[in-house]
């Protein structure tokens, strides 16, 4: 059986290995992804984002229990940061998910950002597609702990859950642009902590203002209070996600189409960028010039970055 058939049959080892090749951007991976692509589109993708330590991994763990009880299979992609100095990483999201290690219906993969900004990794979308093709019903994607501007997840997931905790800043934080705009569902985790009511009030204001100005096509983001570590509020979160899913499927799936268009556009641009870069780098290589030589020439002002790239695009030999 070839690697593609193995993945379609749900083989864990084959899937794990292909995910690695995607992560390492091995050129031979594209033919595999091409063959898997027609088999994607069945899974429901839920993204979790929020600052470090708000409880994203614990929520993912709890929701996995929720979906397993319904007999659904779950794929999890969890992102942690790469060291900007050594390129190494410690991936620790699994610590919160130990109970699922021996469950055949759950596949967990830890990923490192590897210098990519935006909350995900360069190849998260390809990996989602592989888990989808291997037959996972639900895919939970946990972003790296984010700050204010890492909004990529909204272009990858059907439903984006923004997780916060009480006392994470004042009203001005809540009206800033960026991350606070992408939540389809807001979760206030650790809701037993002081300041919980104030946080909820601020989120309500934020959501109401947002709806007045742009709206989410008739979707009003709910605020769910949870204490993930005690399994409190998980059923409610599960219901809220289901409601958003129903919303996407309503009106002849017109809202779902918007999400699919966003995902497809993102992926097309990703592959385009990657391949364009690869092709141009190859042109440099074929000319027998080292990238560093070009850099040196730019430093010496004998050329400039714009002319170099223009030449490469025109494929004119210098």
């Amino acid at each position: 059986m070839g690697i593609v058939d193995q993945i379609l049959a749900g083989d864990v080892r084959a899937t794990a290995r292909v995910l690695r090749d995607i992560d390492d951007q091995v050129p031979t991976i594209h033919p595999i992804l091409k063959q898997l692509y027609p088999h994607t589109g069945k899974a429901f993708i839920i993204g979790f984002t929020g600052s470090p330590g708000v409880g994203k991994s614990t929520l993912v763990d709890q929701l996995t229990i929720h979906y397993r009880k319904q007999g659904l299979t779950v794929g999890i992609l969890a992102v942690d940061p790469t060291s900007p100095f050594t390129g190494g990483a410690i991936l620790g999201d699994r610590i919160r998910m130990q109970r699922h290690f021996l469950d055949d219906g759950v596949f967990i993969r830890s990923l490192a950002t590897r210098g990519h900004f935006g909350g995900l990794t360069k190849s998260t979308n390809d990996m989602i597609n592989v888990l989808d093709a291997m037959g996972k019903d639900i895919i939970l994607v946990e972003t790296v702990g984010v700050g204010q501007d890492e909004v990529e997840i909204a272009n990858s997931a059907h439903t984006t859950v923004l997780v916060t905790i009480p006392g994470m800043g004042d009203e001005v934080q809540a009206i800033k642009a960026g991350i606070m705009e992408i939540g389809n569902i807001f979760v206030v985790n650790k809701a037993d902590r002081e300041g919980s009511r104030k946080t909820i009030r601020e989120l309500m204001n934020l959501i109401e203002l947002g709806l007045r100005h742009q709206g989410q096509n008739g979707w009003e983001p709910p605020i769910i209070q949870t204490e993930a570590i005690k399994s409190r509020g998980i059923e409610e979160l599960g219901e809220a996600i289901q409601k958003h899913r129903d919303f996407l499927l309503a009106n002849d799936k017109s809202n779902l189409r918007d999400v699919l268009v966003k995902r497809a556009r993102t992926q097309l641009l990703e592959v385009l960028k990657e391949e364009a870069l690869r092709t141009l780098m190859k042109r440099i290589e074929t000319r027998g010039i080292a990238l560093d030589t070009l850099v040196d020439q730019i430093v010496e002002k004998s050329t400039d970055p714009y002319s170099v790239v223009q030449d490469l695009l025109n494929n004119e030999l210098p």
């Binding site: 690697i3 992560d23 390492d24 031979t28 060291s83 050594t86 190494g88 990483a89 991936l91």
Partner: protein, 139 residues
């Protein structure tokens, strides 16, 4: 072949002792050596460790143990890797072992045992020399 191919390592603690400082120190050392390290916390069964290693597609498993249960758990990890056609994953161990147990563990398939006092850079150098990221898959 591919310069960006990154070594992935699982640091796991089998058995019932909760002393994971050593595991965390070595995880940090591997991080600083530029490796990607999956850490799963304490109290892992050999079954959980092998399942994680396969899902995470690691090249190396580092087992840390202080409780004395290595005689069971280390060979069991090797056995499970074989059962899952994953014997290409290298396994090393660290912790406290009676001297006479070390040859037995190596016989069972543990590639190297690092005892207390080993320098972190020696372990990293050993990994660099003995473990290579595996080849890419082809359609």
């Amino acid at each position: 072949m591919n310069k960006s191919r990154k070594l992935r390592i699982l640091i796991a603690k089998p058995g019932l002792d909760g002393h994971d400082r050593g595991a965390r120190v070595i995880a940090r050392a591997f991080r600083d050596a530029g490796f990607e390290v999956v850490y799963t916390g304490c109290h892992q069964t050999p079954e959980q460790i092998v399942s994680t290693a396969i899902q995470e597609d690691v090249d190396l498993i580092g087992l840390s143990i202080l409780s004395g249960a290595h005689a069971y758990s280390f060979p069991r990890v090797i056995e499970l890797l074989k059962e899952n056609n994953a014997e290409d994953i290298t396994v090393i161990g660290g912790g406290i072992f009676p001297l006479e147990d070390i040859p037995v563990l190596k016989e069972a398939g543990i590639k190297e045992i690092f005892e207390p006092g080993t320098k972190l850079h020696e372990i990293c150098a050993w990994v660099d020399q003995n473990v290579k990221p595996r080849q890419a898959m082809v359609a």
